[in-house]
Symmetry: C2
Subunit: 122 residues, 2 copies
Amino acid sequence: MNTSNLDSTFAALADPTRRAILGRLALGETSVTELAAPFEMSMPAISKHLKVLERAGLIVRGREAQWRPCKLQAGPLQDASVWIDEYRKFWEQSFDRLDDYLKTLQDPTLQAKEKHPEHKRK
Amino acid sequence: MNTSNLDSTFAALADPTRRAILGRLALGETSVTELAAPFEMSMPAISKHLKVLERAGLIVRGREAQWRPCKLQAGPLQDASVWIDEYRKFWEQSFDRLDDYLKTLQDPTLQAKEKHPEHKRK
């Protein structure tokens, strides 16, 4: 995995319009005009976002048809997913700890044990 | 999931130094001086990166000890992972297609079938 690719992938994803464009392209390839329609944005502004996505390898523009459809390319997202997944154990650990704590709150027996560890032995 | 949180998470991850800092913190909490050691970078430059990570909620700085240790917080990474995972089927599809193609290349029978679909029926 190339580290400069991760730079451009994460930078491209750091914008809500670009993420929404990828969300639209997940439904199928489409023209720039159609892509731009839901956004209150000028065509040059949309084109700028598309260029960022294209440079990051997250979309490709067709060469054959005159309307040059945009298409999603998920390869860089996979690399980003692999990188983030290295940290999965950290968020899973936090949830385990929260889960244990919530169980303690719901179970009065456990709560008593927490407060008075010797309580049950009497 | 807050969309502006995703903005700051992905923006924070779009830099190799910041990703390396998170990688170091995955090994355990540490001081800023220790964090800075492997990088050929001034202390103010490192501090700037830490501020970006802190604002994105990816690290916390201890308040109790005087050396204010930095600690990883993986919550925002989980949100980023959930977002990216929506696209998993797209990269898995591409691999399935590549896999089918490689199988065709390796198996002469399949190759013949591809070229002459009627070949085997004679």
